[in-house]
Amino acid sequence: MAETVVPAGTEPAVEEVHLRHHFATPAQQMDAATLGMWTFLITEVLFFGGMFASYAVYRNMYLDAFASTSQYMNVVLGGTNTAVLICSSLTMVLAVRAAQLSNRRHLILFLILTMIFGVAFLVIKGFEYHAKWVEGLVPGLHWSGYTEHPEFAYHAQILFFLYFCMTGMHALHMVVGIGLLTFLLVQAYRRVFNANYFAPVEMIGLYWHFVDIVWIFLFPLLYLIGHRR
């Protein structure tokens, strides 16, 4: 039962296990972290689930209006973002692999790459939001651009409201994820992770993949309704 309080500024020994005091074995610590993370991800599924359920209800009620919104969505930017996120998932899993192999150089490299992809996603998303604002497609705050199908202008606001809520919540999770990656980067730089201790990398990796998967659902549901008819 090793106490692992490391004074700030000192270099921990290589292959340190970092067992916290209340766990009996590193395996128990890892099991607890894994179960905790998966449980947390279940709460996230239900968090987004509230919006997906609302989406399902209204898409069922106003299918034509929902389909008419597709021509206002920028499929190219949305598709690019999908590709960006899939790449970021790859680099994230490579980062986990590097941590497990005690390969600090690769770990840092892949963490930075993942962060670059994450930031790229947010920048592209920002351009999309900006375009929506300019075109007057923000329900409640700036809604004047829905001119092609005036008969759907009311019900389409529901879709756009959900669009901003769902992608906004997703983007917020991305921002949190990039913050967590920054934390990992600092830790990796300080040589905290090694083949015996890589739980934080793996757990934050799980979170990152989850956020990516949410987008995999958001993209077709929000951008491609009209295209799928």
């Binding site: 449980t39 279940i42 689930g49 609302s54 209800v57 409640g140 019900h155 409201f161």
Partner: protein, 543 residues
């Protein structure tokens, strides 16, 4: 459990324990010890309980006269803030965040919860949420009721809905983190030999509660967020102006808030199982049934939310399905009541204060539960929905059930938490006062509701005055019943006789360690060789 120690109050000088190991406010505010966090929670939820109670005092005063003493506006804000504070800032965290936080690691034989820092984070989130709620109160309160129904909450109410909603949102995450911590702790931190079928039932019921907290609360969070966005943007998915459906808000809200009712009762049931077994000196009757009834309640709790909406725009067939499902929840609840009574049968029942609260719980919860069946019946519900019958029903479950269990649990484990005994006579007296005051407050409300008095109105026809005065009088007695324990609990901290390890001669790992426990609970990890509730005759244990 061979080493149960004797009651030996004089011997102990001040041993090192979790309370005196460190001093100063920093050692409390930065602690990761589950026991200290539990104490922080006890203090905070007690404060919120008295804030919520103050609201109740004020509106019971208002209801003394038929025309009401305050304006309708003031009254609406009083009962809304009473509900919000009592539900989200007292009942939901009441037993899980305090007693369970303190006891679960000890009961499973661990040094701490799986994630001690997340445990502390949950307390800070609770405090942040509570401050937002207090801010809403100070600025003038909320008048939507605790249910925040749209479109009133999103569009028409000009009270502090956003502050209260964000307060509840924040406190929700504290609840999620508590539940998550319990689930992982029960799965991964059990001592050698502590199999699932040896877990104390208190752990089982809090595990089931954890599942509900983890699965339900995120839905409330997103619902309140959508509500807040709609209030800010003046348009949204609950807005009928653009084709939105306010009923959807109710579905999402009750998808959490009905399971939340079980967050507010399951931990209490766990406390009662411990107390009944200890003070009957008998193994709990039908351990497996009691354990699995907790799980059954957790599962069924997610499929009954529609019974809150029988008269608010649900199809007859949906109503029928929800009605049948709601009846099914009564089965595991009844199993528990029957098993507690069967445990007492031919047991050596003693009437210590915790047991008095347990008796109160069983009786009052049974009334609350059975009247729940009236409300789950479609036809009866149409007549009684929105009347004081509903108010009386859920207060019998929430106050008669959960608060009774909380008080019983506090009296049962107070010697463990503080190392001191409280005055026996005073505590029995207070338990009696609470029972009398409670029934005097809420039984008249059953009659009022049956006669047709609607809830949430500041005024009422004169013929209802006698019963309302009775209810208000009962509330003042109930209030006294809650203040007396406050006084003697605080008094006992300095002046109570030392409790020793096991003042009740109770089974369970928590009674084998010193009172108050040391920071890491156990000197060495215990090895469990027996089932829970292995009660023999009292002499064998206490001697």
């Amino acid at each position: 459990m061979a080493t149960l120690a004797q009651r030996s109050p004089e011997v102990e000088a001040e041993e090192v324990n979790y309370l005196n190991v460190e001093h100063g406010w920093k050692s409390w505010l930065l602690t990761t010890d589950h026991k200290r966090i539990a104490v922080l929670y006890i203090i905070s939820i007690t404060l919120m309980f008295f804030v919520g109670g103050l609201m109740a005092v004020l509106f019971r005063i208002n209801l003394l006269v038929p025309e009401g003493l305050f304006s309708a506006e003031t009254y609406n804000r009083l009962f809304s803030m009473h509900g919000i504070i009592m539900v989200f800032f007292f009942l939901v965290p009441s037993i899980p965040a305090t007693l369970a936080n303190f006891l679960i690691p000890i009961m499973v034989g661990a040094k701490d919860l799986a994630f001690p820092r997340i445990n502390l984070l949950s307390w800070y989130l609770y405090i942040a949420g509570a401050l937002l709620a207090i801010y809403a109160v100070v600025r003038g309160g909320v008048d939507t009721g605790w249910t925040f129904y749209a479109p009133f909450s999103t569009t028409y109410s000009n009270s502090y809905v956003l502050a209260a909603a964000f307060g509840v949102f924040t406190a929700g995450f504290s609840s999620i983190l508590t539940g998550l911590n319990f689930i992982v702790t029960v799965h991964k931190m059990r001592a050698p030999g502590m199999t699932w079928s040896r877990l104390p039932l208190f752990v089982w019921s809090n595990y089931a509660t954890g599942l509900i907290q983890v699965l339900g609360t995120p839905v409330l969070a997103i619902t309140l967020l959508l509500l807040a966005f709609e209030r800010i943007a003046h348009v949204g998915i609950f807005d009928p102006n653009i084709g939105g459906d306010p009923i959807l808000f109710q579905h999402l809200f009750w998808f959490y808030s009905h399971p939340a009712v079980y967050i507010m009762i399951l931990p209490g049931m766990g406390v009662i199982s411990e107390i009944v077994s200890c003070f009957s000196r008998k193994r709990i009757f039908g351990y497996n049934f009691v354990a699995f009834s907790s799980m059954a309640i957790a599962v069924l709790s997610f499929v009954v939310w529609g019974h809150h909406m029988f008269i608010t725009g649900e199809s007859m067939y949906t109503g029928l399905a929800f009605s049948i499902l709601s009846f099914m929840v009564a089965v595991p609840s009844a199993i528990k009541v029957f098993n507690w009574t069967a445990t007492m049968y031919k047991g050596s029942v003693s009437f210590d204060t915790p047991m008095l609260y347990a008796f109160g719980f069983i009786g009052l919860f049974t009334i609350g539960g059975l009247t729940g069946l009236h409300l789950a019946t479609l036809g009866t519900d149409i007549a009684t929905h929105g009347t004081y019958f509903v108010v009386a029903h859920f207060h019998y479950v929430m106050v008669g059930g959960m608060v009774m269990a909380f008080m019983g649990g506090m009296h049962f484990w107070w010697p463990k938490i503080t190392g001191r005994m409280y005055p026996e006579a005073w505590s029995k007296f207070a338990a009696l006062i609470v029972f009398i005051g409670f029934n005097l407050t809420f039984f008249p409300q059953f009659i009022l509701g049956y006669l047709g008095m609607p809830r949430r109105y500041h005024a009422y026809p004169p013929e209802f005055q006698a019963l309302n005065v009775l209810s208000s009088a009962g509330a003042s007695i109930l209030g006294i019943g809650y203040v007396i324990p406050m006084v003697y609990f605080i008094w006992s901290l300095k002046n109570g006789p030392r409790a020793g390890k096991n003042p009740w001669g109770a089974a369970g790992l928590e009674w084998q360690i010193q009172s108050p426990p040391t920071t890491f609970n156990f000197d060495e990890t215990p090895v469990v060789t027996e089932e829970a509730y292995n009660y023999g005759p009292l002499e064998e244990i206490v001697g």
